[in-house]
Symmetry: C2
Subunit: 473 residues, 2 copies
Amino acid sequence: MSILRLSEDEIASRLRSGNVRIGVIGLGRIGVPTAVLFAEAGAKVVGGDINPAVVKGMNQGFCHFIDEPGLAEAVAKVVLRGRLSATIDNREAAIGADVVIMCLPTPVDESKTPNYSFIVSASKDVSKSLGNGCIVAVESTVGPGIIENLIIPMLEEGSGLKAGEDFGVVACPDRSDPGRVLRDMKKVPRIVGGTDSRSTSAFAALYGAASGVRVIQVSDPKTANAAKLMENLFRDVNIALANEFAIIYEQFGIDTIEVINACSTKYNFMPHYPSRGVGGPCLPSNPYYLIVEGAKVGNIPYLVRMAREINDRMPDHVVELVIEALNDIARTVKGTRIAILGISYKPDVKDIQNTPVEKIFRKLQKMGAELTIYDPYFKGEKVFDVVASTSLQDAIDGASCFVIGTGHREFQNLDLKMLSRHGYGRVALVDSVHLVPPEIACREGLVYRGVGRKATGMSSAVVMPTRWAGAPA
Amino acid sequence: MSILRLSEDEIASRLRSGNVRIGVIGLGRIGVPTAVLFAEAGAKVVGGDINPAVVKGMNQGFCHFIDEPGLAEAVAKVVLRGRLSATIDNREAAIGADVVIMCLPTPVDESKTPNYSFIVSASKDVSKSLGNGCIVAVESTVGPGIIENLIIPMLEEGSGLKAGEDFGVVACPDRSDPGRVLRDMKKVPRIVGGTDSRSTSAFAALYGAASGVRVIQVSDPKTANAAKLMENLFRDVNIALANEFAIIYEQFGIDTIEVINACSTKYNFMPHYPSRGVGGPCLPSNPYYLIVEGAKVGNIPYLVRMAREINDRMPDHVVELVIEALNDIARTVKGTRIAILGISYKPDVKDIQNTPVEKIFRKLQKMGAELTIYDPYFKGEKVFDVVASTSLQDAIDGASCFVIGTGHREFQNLDLKMLSRHGYGRVALVDSVHLVPPEIACREGLVYRGVGRKATGMSSAVVMPTRWAGAPA
């Protein structure tokens, strides 16, 4: 019997007794933990992915994410128990499934247009084996209305079934943070909005039973997608605001981090910190899902767009700080050895998707710097056209400038004395992620620049005014 | 002996023993509770204000704020005990004071230029009786650098003394919320930054002893002022962001309040709600202090400026909603009786400084509406050229449209049936402060529009697209 006809308790007990079958389409950073979550709770899960290597690995109990705590062990366990298998055929993953969960990436292309081709293609596949009474759940982030206007018609066309009657479609946007996805899935409440209240409540019951989290049921898919966008765009806009303040406060000789920490003592303030910008699969692309849908109704969210542009230009500002710092030690970028410490888009993940550090690297490279890279997650790997150093010391030897690109845990107690010792002549430190306070860098005799911070070291009295070119387009 | 030479404990004990003398310049919404705070803690306080009526009232133990819980009683008590008196001569308030606290308004003029004339004029007065060893504390919100570059030179010139040596100047920006200022002063941590560490720590000790709150000492006045701006601009920008989402989501048929409440279940989201915009003495003006200082160094905070403009245009959007709602009941604004319920800039204060409701009123008035006003804080008073009704029923009788302008507690259980009964024909409700959910209004048979909400009532299927004209200037 379709789970659409079961009560909340019946759904939970069917899950526990091993009689729920789930297809998870897309075995990426969200799909794999989603599959694990349901398999651990008792479901029989079949994962679909177009990458044969991923499918083969998973069927051998292997997980390709090394930076998600507990995930590799969990995958090995559920595969061994026969609860999780994988296929390169999405139709096969969907056959006979009570629920099909779509975890496809929704990136933006170079001109910032959302690329829904992965989810469209997967929807076509799934539609061909979609059973009556099935629920299709979309975890991917999409613009409000995309499920209603793009995905549902595709599912209906391929299956000959009617959404909201023969099968249900729910949006259940992922809310977890890369680097702790499995933990967040069992901790952060979920938002579910479906084509009809039966699908919404059935999926909410199933998700709640599998994860143990509170599930918030909202009116429809577009409302759930709107919520996912709002919470991510809230972050992007507030980080941009911190960056906007940072660039002005640098000119005023005010330490932005000191300011933010003082503000944080107020009950209605939430701290966001300035940096070299924002990367990863979500924040750099999510704003464009709203911008594009807004443009369609003649209503562009300007704040959201400007915030995105501000964050996108922060790498340029970091390069300006590098130029200033090098100027203080009488050097040009051209011909100077510069070590980039950390390239991941955020701390403690092995992930350089949309990392702002690449832009810093590319610009310095174009200006003729001799660049080395050290990142604990990319030792000896080829990244941005160079092979990353296998040790910190290799990367810093003979460098005149150190750019902290990512606040990895390993860098939190960076030995500044060692940087000075290994560096060539008087050395400069540019901190793009507020890891080293100015006064500490100053004490160790380094010329220092940091995003939003007071300049210290030689010529520190004369800070070049940094013109900010972030004018509205 | 100057308190600059005393230890933290000595300062606290001197305060308790009645041997600290404090001048408070500016007896407004912040100055009066500040005076009370120190008087209650044992200080001898003299308040200075240019308004003879305020001074006369205070010397009789009378407080002119009726919407600050506990303030009137507290004023009466400390005046009776001889701990608080007032004078129209600021110089007199400053004579012999250990600490002079400046609580002057810093509004912006019509063209959004900060008007520092009140604090400049008061600084000139104070400088003439400024004693060696005194601390001047500025609670007013000013741009970063204004204390250093405008106020200190004025104090030095008039006194012949040197700031940071002969006397101290600290920024101690007010962080309290109108309507609960006295409570907040005893609850919300304070940020203090002075010309020198002695002044900063002495004033921090005094403020901490008087209020019982944690005091955060920061590097200098400009850092403290930067923090005050950042926390208020954070709010203004986030309210604008909520408004930006609201206007788009209205067009998508998504309820923004449902979205925000769903988002609020995420650990790193902070809810801000859409409305008819922002009023009061702080949020509409504070952004311009940063914009002006930023412009001076060639660096305008565009996000902050655009957010301000978005909030400033929200009253126009409310008027659009009124027009749409009236259209649904086949009426024009011209000749229609419209009742405005609530005019204060925020709930439960008697304060219409920069209230967005005035803009709604003026525009509807210009379009030929017959307007009535009801606000529990302005019964029978002349506001915006009309005399406000003395009762809700008087205001609503014969009206075809009700506009909720302020979410006063009294309106939280508004009897919608009564609105329908007293109204003329089929009636429309426009909720500018998300007090009435669409489904409730619909159930009561009202034509409904709300900022960021789904339209309900007649012709609800056809929602006019609302063009948003908030393009970058």
